[in-house]
């Protein structure tokens, strides 16, 4: 297993209270697979991704748990070892290409950095490699684009640059945090296709974080659904969409309007609001919004358990064998 996350907890401390952004999650990522992470805003999916590279901004902190990357625990690495993994072994693509690139450095200056830092190449040697990268992500006229500044490129182009930067050193894991949310649909499709093809080519693993159930359905091999800092369901993509087990997953799938849907059929939204992470109620975090809730759900929070051999769910109503 390339990456194994065990009982990871990341909390933000505000005054005396904790915001449990990531609360006891465990998952694995195999070589070459694409794992989709789905959840609504504030469910902890970004915090989980940042934790993997120990990029959690203060006052956030990894409180407990292990992140085993090729057997090494990332949470226990020295700064020096950590730096040698970031950007080289594990790379990240961020949501908003408008702000994720340094506005006062040219594209070229930002692209050569991975080569200079991790491979100790000179700028001269690195530049042709960068142009090659830009060609790979289909940026026209790559040579002259190296001298451009981010604001001179469109949103889609900037995200291509981000992708090129992340792929520069053939990382083993690419974490893409809502890579296309800020972009138009027609550009989104092309970029995701590109990302998928290149990761496949490099045999890299992709962790695709998104709120869009459609994107995951199209690109992910496995999916995990997050709610209020926890994983509520984890399965192969096909299984998850065919037989969603957790009421939240079902609710999400019913909330999405579909083109091929029967006309005039009303959407069935999940009622209520997501809970406040700073003071989560006891028991299941989804309790208030759940249509199937029972007394035991309020008493104790369910943990993620196997339902079938590769379908896990955290719900009292879906204990194995039932």
């Amino acid at each position: 297993m390339l990456l194994k996350v065990l009982n990871l907890c990341t909390y933000y401390q505000t005054g005396s209270s904790y915001v449990r952004a990531v609360d006891d999650i465990s998952f694995e990522l195999a070589k070459g697979e694409t794992l989709g992470v789905v959840g609504e805003s504030g469910c902890g999916k970004t915090a989980a991704a940042l934790s993997l590279m120990r990029l959690i901004p203060s006052p956030g902190r990894i409180v407990s748990g292990k992140i085993l990357f090729e057997g090494k625990d990332i949470t226990a690495l020295s700064i020096k070892e950590l730096l040698s993994i970031r950007g080289d072994q594990i790379a990240m693509i961020f949501q908003d290409p408008m702000t994720a690139l340094n506005p006062v450095l040219s594209i070229g200056e930002q692209l050569v950095e991975p080569f200079m830092i991790h491979r100790r190449l000179s700028r001269k040697v690195a530049i042709p490699l960068c142009i090659e990268l830009l060609n790979k992500v289909r940026i026209p006229d790559a040579g002259s684009r190296m001298k451009s500044y981010p604001h001179e490129l469109s949103g889609g182009m900037r995200q291509r640059v981000m992708i090129a930067m992340a792929l520069a050193l053939n990382p083993k894991i690419i974490i893409a945090d809502e890579p296309t949310t800020a972009l138009d649909v027609s550009i989104q499709a092309e970029l995701l296709e590109l990302l998928k093809n290149i990761t496949r080519e490099q045999n890299a693993s992709l962790m695709l974080i998104t709120h869009n159930l459609g994107i995951v359905a199209r690109y992910a091999d496995r999916v995990m659904i997050m709610y209020a800092g926890r994983i509520v369901e984890k399965a192969f993509t096909l299984n998850l969409y065919q037989t969603p087990l957790h009421p939240y997953t079902k609710g999400l799938l019913d909330s999405v309007p579909r083109l091929n849907q029967n006309n005039n059929k009303k959407l069935t939204p999940i009622k209520g609001q997501p809970p406040d992470l700073a003071n989560l109620p006891q028991g299941c975090a989804f309790y208030e919004r759940c249509t199937l809730k029972e007394a035991r759900c309020k008493a104790k929070a369910p943990t993620l358990k196997k339902f079938t051999c590769d379908h896990e769910v955290a719900c009292w109503l879906k204990e194995e064998g039932k």
Binding site: I187, G251, L253, S255, P269, I270, Q273
Partner: protein, 330 residues
């Protein structure tokens, strides 16, 4: 004029002049944000307007609301020509025409209580003068949109984004309008909340027999709420049709591309369609090619498309119209 007609938008254009300033302003070009856009909305229907960022859909809303002057064209609301109205008449018209904005954070004054936000249109249009009645009316409105009236003394920042959008809706329906413009009302919301708001909008539409102009970039959402859909690309309507016609039988290559680009939340659909992916990007509006605006990205482009700009062919209200040379009857 058809008495059933709520809104008639007739060939509206909007240009933003582009200046080069050295010492004096010198006009060097114009940004064609809208180019001869026409559509009708009849009473009781919902017209969906889809397009990507920068296609001009928000400008359409703003010009209808008279928040921005037009460069050319006319807008008729219930047969009245909006540009001819006096200030006083315009205020009367605004009672019947309201708008809901995309941004649930920016569109509510952070220093006003919910009571006063929802009640502001009541004050402006002097619907009631008694304090008690005013409070009752606001409480009714809050109930109608699914908010607890006890929360009326709170400030917007104490609400989640979904609840804020409910406040916006309550404010919009406070003066019992006939026509509601929804400018990306659910784009900033999470999926589960989005569905709540869509349902709420449909409920109040039935309750008040409203007419909607529903603007969004998400074709699936628009398809769900609308009866007819207009697709915009770079300031022009490229296709307009009944919603099922448009989605099952799209004619314009851009509509086709848009449809196939939408990721369907069903893994079985994954390999079904060869995605007709678009190349290139929505470039600067300034350098409009002389022919069809979609020409640079179109997979079916012909030499005619480069030379001549296609126009939306004429037809009556329910016809499937498109602005593409492939479908033009000569």
């Amino acid at each position: 004029m058809n008495a059933n007609l709520m809104l008639k938008v007739n060939k509206i254009s909007k240009q933003f002049p582009v200046y080069r300033r050295t010492v004096f302003k010198k006009k060097i070009g114009a940004l064609n944000v809208l180019n001869s856009v026409s559509f009708d909305i009849v009473k009781g229907e919902t017209l969906g307007l889809v397009g990507e960022s920068g296609c001009g859909k928000t400008t359409v809303c703003r010009t209808i609301m008279q928040l921005e002057p037009l460069t050319a064209g006319e807008i008729f609301f219930k047969g009245e020509r909006l540009s001819m109205l006096t200030k006083k008449e315009l205020r009367q018209v605004r009672r019947h025409m309201q708008i809901i904005y995309q941004d649930p954070f920016g569109s509510l004054n952070p220093r006003m209580k919910v009571l006063d936000i929802i009640g502001e249109p009541l004050m402006i249009h002097k619907i009631t003068s008694s304090k008690g009645e005013y409070k009752d009316m606001v409480a009714d409105l809050m109930m109608m949109v699914g908010l607890n009236p006890l929360m009326s003394s709170r400030y917007p920042h104490e609400f989640s984004s979904g609840q804020r959008q409910r406040i916006s809706i309550a404010r919009a329906i406070a003066v019992k309008p006939d026509f509601l413009i929804c400018d990306e009302p659910v784009s900033a919301l999470d999926v589960s909340i989005q569905a709540q708001i869509i349902n709420l909008l449909e409920e109040i539409k039935d309750k008040f027999s409203l007419t909607y102009l529903f603007v969004a970039h998400d074709l699936a959402v628009v398809h769900h709420v609308s009866s007819r859909i207009a697709v915009m690309y770079r300031g022009e309507i490229v296709e307009i049709a009944d919603k099922d016609n448009l989605c099952r039988n799209p004619k314009h290559p851009y509509t086709k591309a848009l449809l196939s680009a939408i990721p369907v939340p069903d893994p079985k659909e994954r390999y079904k369609d060869e995605h007709a992916l678009l190349r290139g990007e929505n470039n600067d509006l300034l350098d409009v090619p002389s022919g069809c605006r979609f020409y640079p990205r179109c997979p079916f482009a012909m030499s005619l498309c480069y030379q001549k700009r296609p126009v939306l062919n004429k037809g009556n209200h329910h016809e499937h119209l498109t602005a593409c040379h492939l479908h033009q009857e000569s």
